[in-house]
Symmetry: C2
Subunit: 318 residues, 2 copies
């Protein structure tokens, strides 16, 4: 399969999203460096608008919709970070957004999405298909459907995360990225290898949500059952048609971490570094702290992909 | 009483502490700005080494000890952030440090202090006086006693916090600082008014720990009973002999916030800004969110003084 995302698409995305997305800080920790015997640079997407990297892809996607289609708005389905990202990007561009969200989504996420001026269409997670509802709305209204990861415009937008990190930190020899649907890592790996061909790129999945790990072993996209993991952003069940070949080509190795390791990484980030990172965002640090990364890297970039955690969940870390 | 700390002492302290203390970032939040109708700049001392601003004063103090006395080391008593700061500063300077700490201090703080190579002398909080133990050690060994706040060298060191903030953010018209013993605010207010005479400086105390608020009303230092508040860093019972006149001269107003308001500020900082700030560090944001600040400020600096919170306490925020 030919690859339709080019490094220059990511550079173009960086210019497009600049008015909407934040250039997030890169954080370091003496404690982490001492513990790991490497220099570690954490790209803090938990400080991103909407609390996660998702705004990058959503903004790039919305800006890429032809002018003639923009007035009909956008529609997306998501219970999590993608919904809020689409709502923020749409508001910034003055477009209408409709979000198909489960009736039992956290009230904080429903409120945050509504606060951006988006219309919310609730659905029953156990009896209705959000894909069908989303497609029906798109067919009726002409609104453009914004997919969560499996699209070139999304991949190019998410790749700006690694582009920023590598522009700020020279000489990284490894990059570690959470792996869910694969939008973040495929864009990030593509631009990382373009900038620095020798860099090693690692994707990290939760043990229960190992669809990419299995797919790589089998050499084809494998579907798994809905995974039971605290990493709610990495619960995708099958690699994307566009993202899988990119991951196969640009990602060196796929690593797995358990929920207990993710919790320990979250505790470390909170109590030592004073930052809140969601379970999906902490998998890279979990891989580092628990020795899952191949030895040898001296300058290590890790993407903390988001920070949206309910305080109720946080209480379970004590 | 004549004032013995000069703005140039703070500038000198900034040069002295540069190799040890971090230049902490200044954070902003669209949500906070929109909610308050002002531009708010948060000085993130929770990202400081040791997790709090205390390293500034401790380092300046240790560097100011005459060469001839340094070999005999330092001694300090503290159950909290001051202990860790003295331990870190001493290690950086190759000095011996003895910390008098309560036997029931959180294990995490004892471990962190010990990890810096400091000697810990435990004492029984209910039966022994840490001041007496500290002074006895000082008398026996010749170690210099490092006071937690009431000393010119400490005040000058803490003032570097506001010096950095104002160098980074031009045109602040108000500065909001947590008020415990008064070391942080007196140094900060002194340099702030030197740099910008029209700036308004506000100190924030917990309602239960209102020793400065009462002392200002009476025009003299008042002692209160040991206060019951979650803001463990602001439980001092009496203004300092050196810090009180500085606060009287340079601080425009003293504001009070309740524990419930502090908790709400911590929740905001965690869930919206993804940062962990300890109760004492969140009082400024509590004052802002609950309308305690006089109206009119358009560009507002707030010091988040630290981020050392046990996960057990965090669990009570849910």
């Amino acid at each position: 399969m030919s690859i339709h995302v080019k490094p220059d698409d990511i550079r173009a995305a960086a210019r497009r999203i600049a008015p909407v997305a934040r250039r997030t800080p890169v954080l370091t920790s003496r404690t982490l460096n001492e513990r790991c015997g490497a220099e570690v640079f954490l790209k803090a997407e938990n400080f991103q608008r909407g609390g996660a990297f998702k705004i990058r892809g959503a903004t790039n996607f919305l800006y890429s919709i032809p002018e003639s289609d923009r007035a009909r708005g956008v529609v997306a389905f998501s219970s999590g970070n993608h919904a809020q990202a689409v709502a923020i990007a749409a508001r910034s561009l003055g477009m209408n957004a409709t979000l198909v969200m489960p009736t039992d989504a956290p009230k904080s996420k429903l409120d945050a999405t509504r606060a951006q001026g988006a219309r919310i269409v609730p659905y029953d997670r156990f009896r209705e298909s959000r894909e069908e509802i989303g497609r029906a709305i798109s067919a009726e209204t002409g609104a453009t459907l914004v997919p969560p990861f499996d699209h070139e415009w999304i991949v190019a937008g998410q790749g700006t995360c690694a582009l920023e990190l590598m522009a700020e930190v020279a000489g990284l020899d490894a990059l570690v990225v959470p792996l869910g649907g694969g939008g973040l890592i495929s864009g990030s790996a593509l631009i990382a290898k373009d900038l620095s061909p020798a860099i090693r790129v690692y994707g990290v999945e939760p043990e229960a949500g190992n669809d990419y790990w299995l797919s790589r072993r089998r050499g084809e996209r494998v579907e798994i059952a809905s995974p039971d993991t605290i990493a709610d952003g990495l619960r995708t069940t099958k690699p994307g048609a566009i993202t899988f070949p990119l991951v196969e080509r640009y990602v060196d190795e796929i690593l797995l971490v358990g929920d207990a390791e993710i919790r320990e990484a979250m505790r470390f980030l909170l109590s030592r570094m004073k930052i809140l990172v969601e379970p999906s965002g902490a998998v890279g640090v979990a891989a580092l702290l628990f020795g899952k990364l191949p030895a040898g890297a001296k300058r290590l970039g890790i993407v903390l992909s988001g920070g949206n955690v309910d305080l109720e969940f946080l209480a379970t870390l004590a």
